[in-house]
Structures are given as structure tokens and as C-alpha cells.
Symmetry: C2
Subunit: 466 residues, 2 copies
């Protein structure tokens, strides 16, 4: 199996595994106890905290270990919101943050409403590479803004965010900044200027069950959970010392190895970006090509069912993920691709774990074009029902009840039947169409005229321009 989904979880670093095993034997005691086994666990925990602090350039007493990156995000956001309740309840986020950040913001808004208060959430936009619009972000900061949250780099498309500029804007506005560094810790240094930093060990080669919540001295913070003495009263529950030690060892190893290995992975990603464009027709490779994480690339293949693409790649021995709506239980495409305004159909994210053999990448690149072509051949059948609805806007494609990628495929076929300058209207009730039809126009040079809601779904009007 060629595992290309490191952005979901990176396999355990060998040094971390060795540390894990020895700490299961030596560090299982309760670090709150004063006897020999407890003191030994405490020493191991303290040493792990110092390792992490040293890699991040913080003080050890600013570092708390959580039980996941998600918990770190939830506690970090809710803790600063509680600490700054008197300032206000306004929260500013980037539009392409991780779902854990978005859900915590939603929860904050819902709870404020329950209390009869209002908690406005401002989500500021990104450009077509997924990079935050810093001036929009800076303008969103207000005197009642309790917290601003930005990821260090995007988890789906790899684009690195302008943290230094965002931090400067936050400092000027007197607003604390939480940086969700889940995708970059152990790979890239985090620029200074944050008040809270969160991360997740299994993304850098540590084990599952460990996250980081780093709260800078001077940040007003009130724990959102019931009182507990563990982890400086920030994270309740018995400390998982063996996993924490393994996480720290993996972080130390990753950060010493990262320069060389990340350069190698980045070269492989460059190769994927270039070769996919050359060998797969109708593909959109997204994300910033230069200022990006070393190990992630995302591209979308027109006229392909994402679910089928994942399944075929799995059969061929490749593990990748997708932001296509066809592969998600929610039927909506990735909010990241949506905010960027890029195609979501037939989407594939490749994220290379450390040590990925070059030959595996080449095997993937050799396989992909034929696989995409076969899937397109299977799916590109005529729509079952001919256009049955009259419309002023030229030919009508009735794709009601049909799922991505069918509406776009039918549009692509029908547009060839009309004169240049004439319109085709697609009726679709698949949520992905709202994103994918404009993105298809952008890619193919046709004009996207408008979308208008209908009793069932929407009508998408497109004018032929070539």
C-alpha cells in the first residue's frame, strides 16, 4: 500500500515507537504521586514538555498536552473567549480553517444565543490559492473582538498562511491570535506573534492521543472545562505519559530531519503538480505552487466521480483523500475548495509521509492518466431524461436528481450543440453544482451568467464563449 494521506495521519516515527515502548515500561505511573514510579513518570513528562517547548521556542510552563488536536482547538478557543468575556464575544476566522475551528465557533455562537447574548462570527475570505486576504482580516478586527484564529497552513491545499502579517494586524488591534498549526508543526517554523498555538502529534509522526495547547504568558485564559489539577489546570484527566513522550521524541526527530526530507518531499510534490497537468486533461491543480507545505498537493479532475476515483486508487494500492462532495457523508463539497472558488469534482489530495519512496510517486503518476480516462468513459453516458423544461436561456440540461459529476458532464456535452454566444441552462439540485459549474466555466473559458434558485434546486446559466 502506498500511503499518501499524511495530512490525515502520519505513520508513527520509528524513534517515537521505540520511545513509546520503553515509556510503557517505565513511565506508566501516576505523575501526581510522590513515590518512585510516580516521580519517574513526572520526570519523563517534564522532559517531554521541555523538548516540545524548545522546538517551538516557548517556555515549558506555557505548553499543555491535550488528548487531540481537536481538543486543543476547542479548549484554546473557548478558553480565550471565556477569559475575554468582558471585552466582547466577536470572533474572527479565516474561511478555510479546519472544521474543528469552525465547529467551535458555531458552538460559541449557539451558546451565546442560548444565554440571550449575541456572538458575531466573521469569516474572512481567501484568494484562489487559498491564501487569507490579510487586509480583509485586519478590517474585521474590532474593539469587541475577543479572539482571531488562523491556521498556519491549509490542510487541504497546502497553502501557507501569512501569519506574520496577520499577527501584526492583531497586535495593532490588541486582539489575541490563535494559530492552528496542526499541519505545519515539525515541518515549518511558526512565525512569532501568536497568543495561543494548537497542534496535533499524529500529524508530525507522534502517536494518536496527544495534542498541544500552548498559551503564552499574559494571555487571559479561563478553562472551559470543570476544574482538574492536571496539566496546569488546562487539560483534565490522567496524563498519557507514554504517548506524550513518544510525541515529543517524534517532534524532536521531525524537526532535526525536516530540512532535508521536506526538501525531497517538496520536489516530489513539484513533480506531481507538473506531471498531472501534463498528463491528465481537464485537471485543475490548486493551492499555492511555491509558498506551500512541503508534502501536500490537491487537484480536481473534471467529469470524474470522486468516490469512484478514490475506490480505484485504493484498489491499485494508493491511499489518498478527497474534498469532493461525492465522497463525504454531508453531500457538500469541501468548504476549503468552496471558499477558494475552485473545482471540487474528482478531487484528490496527495499528502506524502516522510520516507515516501520516489518510485511510489512515479507509479502513481504513471497510473493516474489511464485511470481518470477509464472513469470518464464509464460515467460519460447521456442523461437519462432529455431536457423537458422550456426556458428562455437557450438549451436546457435537466440534471435534477443526478449527483456530481453528472451535471457538469451533461453541460460540457450540451454546450457543444449551441452556437458561440448562445446559452445553456443546467437544472441541478446537487449542492456541488453551485461550486463546480462556475469553476468549470473558469477552467474552460465559457461565461458563467448566473445561478437562480428554483422550486427544486437551481438553474445555472452558462454562455458558450469558444
Amino acid at each position: 500500500m502506498a500511503y499518501f494521506d499524511a495530512a490525515s495521519t502520519e505513520p508513527l516515527h520509528p524513534a517515537a515507537k521505540a520511545a513509546f515502548l520503553s515509556t510503557l515500561d517505565e513511565g506508566w505511573g501516576d505523575p501526581a504521586r510522590g513515590y518512585h514510579d510516580g516521580r519517574r513518570a513526572r520526570m519523563l513528562l517534564d522532559a517531554a514538555r521541555e523538548t516540545v517547548a524548545s522546538v517551538l521556542g516557548t517556555r515549558p510552563d506555557e505548553v499543555s498536552f491535550t488528548t487531540s488536536g481537536t481538543q486543543a482547538v476547542q479548549l484554546g478557543i473557548l478558553g480565550v473567549l471565556a477569559g475575554r468575556r468582558r471585552v466582547g464575544a466577536h470572533l474572527v476566522l479565516g474561511a478555510v480553517e479546519h472544521s474543528s475551528v469552525l465547529h467551535t465557533a458555531d458552538s460559541h455562537a449557539a451558546r451565546s444565543e442560548q444565554r440571550g447574548a449575541t456572538a458575531e462570527i466573521t469569516r474572512t475570505g481567501v484568494d484562489r490559492t487559498g491564501r487569507l486576504d490579510v487586509s480583509a482580516f485586519a478590517s474585521a478586527l474590532r474593539s469587541d473582538t475577543a479572539l482571531a484564529c488562523v491556521q498556519s497552513a491549509n490542510h487541504e491545499v497546502g497553502t501557507v498562511q501569512p501569519i506574520a502579517e496577520v499577527a501584526a494586524a492583531c497586535r495593532a488591534a490588541g486582539v489575541p491570535l490563535l494559530v492552528d498549526a496542526a499541519q505545519s508543526v515539525g515541518r515549518l517554523p511558526v512565525p512569532d506573534g501568536w497568543s495561543v498555538l494548537t497542534a496535533s502529534a499524529h500529524k508530525w509522526g507522534g502517536p494518536a492521543g496527544v495534542g498541544l495547547l500552548v498559551v503564552r504568558k499574559g494571555t487571559r485564559y479561563v478553562s472551559a472545562l470543570p476544574y482538574d489539577e492536571r496539566e496546569a489546570r488546562r487539560v483534565p484527566g490522567f496524563e498519557n505519559v507514554p504517548a506524550i513522550v513518544a510525541a515529543a521524541v517524534a517532534l524532536g526527530a521531525a524537526s532535526t530531519e525536516s530540512a532535508e526530507e521536506d526538501a525531497r518531499l517538496s520536489g516530489l510534490i513539484d513533480r506531481i503538480r507538473a506531471r498531472v497537468r501534463e498528463t491528465v486533461p481537464d485537471v485543475e491543480v490548486v493551492g499555492d505552487p511555491i509558498d506551500r507545505l512541503p508534502h501536500i498537493v490537491t487537484f480536481s479532475c473534471l467529469y470524474v466521480d470522486g468516490e469512484a476515483l478514490l475506490a480505484e486508487l485504493d484498489r491499485a494500492g494508493f491511499a489518498v483523500s478527497s474534498g469532493s462532495s461525492c465522497t463525504s457523508s454531508t453531500l457538500t463539497p469541501s468548504h476549503v475548495l468552496e471558499a477558494m472558488g475552485v473545482l471540487s469534482q474528482g478531487n484528490i489530495r496527495v499528502s506524502l509521509p516522510r520516507g515516501t519512496p520516489e518510485a511510489e510517486v512515479d507509479r502513481f503518476l504513471a497510473l493516474l492518466p489511464g485511470l481518470v480516462a477509464r472513469l470518464r468513459a464509464v460515467v460519460a453516458q447521456p442523461a437519462a431524461a432529455p431536457a423537458a423544461v422550456a426556458a428562455e436561456e437557450g438549451a436546457v440540461v435537466d440534471a435534477l436528481g443526478r449527483r456530481c459529476p453528472i451535471p457538469v458532464i451533461e453541460l460540457a456535452k450540451r454546450i457543444l450543440d449551441v452556437e458561440e454566444g448562445a446559452a445553456v441552462t443546467v437544472l441541478s439540485d446537487d449542492e456541488a453544482s453551485a461550486l463546480d459549474i462556475p469553476a468549470w466555466c473558469e477552467m474552460t473559458g465559457h461565461e458563467f451568467v448566473r445561478a437562480e434558485p428554483r422550486e427544486r434546486g437551481s438553474a445555472y446559466v452558462v454562455r458558450r464563449r469558444s
Copy 2:
């Protein structure tokens, strides 16, 4: 090192360790993904859930894995409170619950107050063995009671709680019951009748980082944390599959081995209970001698500094814990011993992990009497200042500024100087005196007349009765 602190954390079961190692290799993938490595992790997670459900006699879809027993307690209590908000905010607890339960109740009360609502908490008492007063508990249930919480067995003294009777009272009152089964799961079956059950894997020989939150179908439950798709939306964050698999294997092993091994451990605990009473003067062995956990016993040694006792035992190679105030950072004695009204000074909890060799217990029993005698000899020096304050109540012992066990030691010396029927008054500002002076009277047969607050500390009046 003879490790006698299994109630804090039980060493990893050998079968669990083997399962942990193999699942680190095979179950590290993201169980939410559809490719091979993800499906394998999902299958391992599902199998672990079925094992746990089968041991507990529940449905697999009622079982969620948390990241600690503390998290299970917090989510369980807050989730039912949120689900039954319309019924009321009243919460009923036993007085000797684990601190995680008490702190969650405090947090509920504080938050309700912040919202301008009131959330009354009723803590009902226990007898001198630590057993819940069922009729007091039943009378505390009201029409606005959102939840009742009771432990299956006490973590400090081992007494098993009358869960079946409590459950019947809750059923009659239409109040859901949360059972904190952290100390008993894997050792004793949990009686039926609960709505929510919580537990902690590292107490039954599983690894740190795994707790159980079991919510019966039909229980109104609203997650207290922001939305996340993991663990049936009950527990946010990436599932720690290797640790969960190890926890399930340990539970399966513990429950098949428990009958024989627990009978053996229970015999060793009986031996400790009997021999400590025979060989250590002025000792109080507490907790129910019969209806108790198989592996826990607690006793308190008069006139001994608990901190020094722990340190001496550690030097001699024994790891035990203590509920004495002298060993805690809070300067207050264990709330469990306090609610029971028993002595807290010189307190030791012995909790035997599975496989404890009989010879280690015998070595402990051989060592203890001499060690206690030596500590008493060291500490039993005359008070620095003679009684300097006049009082109507006979002789005065001025122990202001002196810490446990000194006030009781001075009282024990001074009482011999007065006639039978005459009084001695102890002035003390050590919080432990409020518990330990009445407990000393109970043990020695002298009469505890009263305690009254003074400008500094309190005056405790005792009448000589032998």
C-alpha cells in the same frame, strides 16, 4: 519496587501490551477513511467496541471511547444536564464521589449562576464505612432533578455502593442515573438500572488515554462540546485506535481472569486488614470489611505524619497513596474520609494490582509496625510552647501553627495529666484537626464536647472518659 497503588493506575496487562504493539503497526490509519488502512483501523475499532459492550452487557452503539475517565465523567454529566435542561438543573450526588464528579457539579453550579439561573447540588451522606445512605439519596430526588450520580464502589476505601437500590429509587423518581464505575469495571459486574456509565481503562489494566462513556438508548443527551463526527458525535477528536484496542483486550482479559485473581487479592486484603489491626497500635482500618472491592484497603495511624509515612514506605520500596492532608497540596484531608467521619492522619491506601506476590504483602506487613513506631518516636516530642492561654475548659494545648499529626499527639499526652471527667482544650488552625480530633475521641473513648471557631483556628474541647 512493590507497587500497591493500583487504584491510581494499574500496570498495563501483558495481553494489552501485545495488542497495543500490533495495533500501532496495523491500526494507525484514520478510521474515517475508506481506503485499506482506514478500513482496517475502523474494523479494529468496531471489534474493540463490541468486546467492551459484551463485557458490560450493553449495545455496541451505546459505547463511546473517551480520552480519560475524567473526560467520560465530565461529558456524561454535562451531556445529560444539557439534554434535560427543561426538566431542571438539580443534581444529586453521593458525598464520597470521585473529585471529577464533584468538580463537574461545581462547574455546573457556577455556569448556571453566570446565566442567572440556579443549579442546586445535593450531596447526600454516607455511613462510617463509606456506604451511601440510600433513603437520604432517594429523598433528595425531586421533580426538577436532572441527574443523579453514584460511584459503583469507593476509590479510597473500597466500599461497594448499593447501586441496585439507588437505581430503583431513580427509576421510581424518573431520574436518570450516572454510575461512575471507574474502580469496578473489569473487577465486579455493574448492577443494571443506570442510564450512563463511565469508566477508565488504566484502572483495569488498559493503557492511559482511554475512558468509557456508555449512554443507554433513550437517555436524553446533548453533547457539551462543539460538534465533531467522531465517536457518534459524543467525543471529539481523532480516535486513538491502538490504545482503544489495547483497552478492550485488557478488559476482556481482566473479566475472564477476575474471579480467580480477585479472590486471591481479596484474601490478601483480608490479611492486611487483620494483621494491621493486630500489629499496629492506635490504628483505624476503615471501609466495609466484606462488601468491598477485592483489591483496596485503607487504614489510618494515629500520631503519624502521613507524608513521612509515605516517604519511609517509598524508601523501603513500597508505592502506596494517602488521603492525609499532610500529603496533599490543598492542606485539607480527603473528602471521603471526612464524609465518613473517620481519622485521616497517618492514612495509607493499599490497592493491589493483579499478580501482586503474596510475599510482597507479607514483607509490607512485617515492615509496617516498626516503621510506624519509629515515626511516632520521632514526632512525639513535647510541644514547643506550653499552654499560654487561660480557658474555662480545663487544660489548654496551644497547637496553633502546628500541622497534623502534632495537635492530636499533644492532646493525647495532655489528657493523661487531667482527672477523669475533666476537659482539655486544643487550639488548632490545622484543618485536619476538625476531622481528626473527633475521630481520635471515637477511637479512644474520650468525649468530644465541641469545636468552636476562634479568631485564629478553632478550640476543640475534649473530656477525659477513661
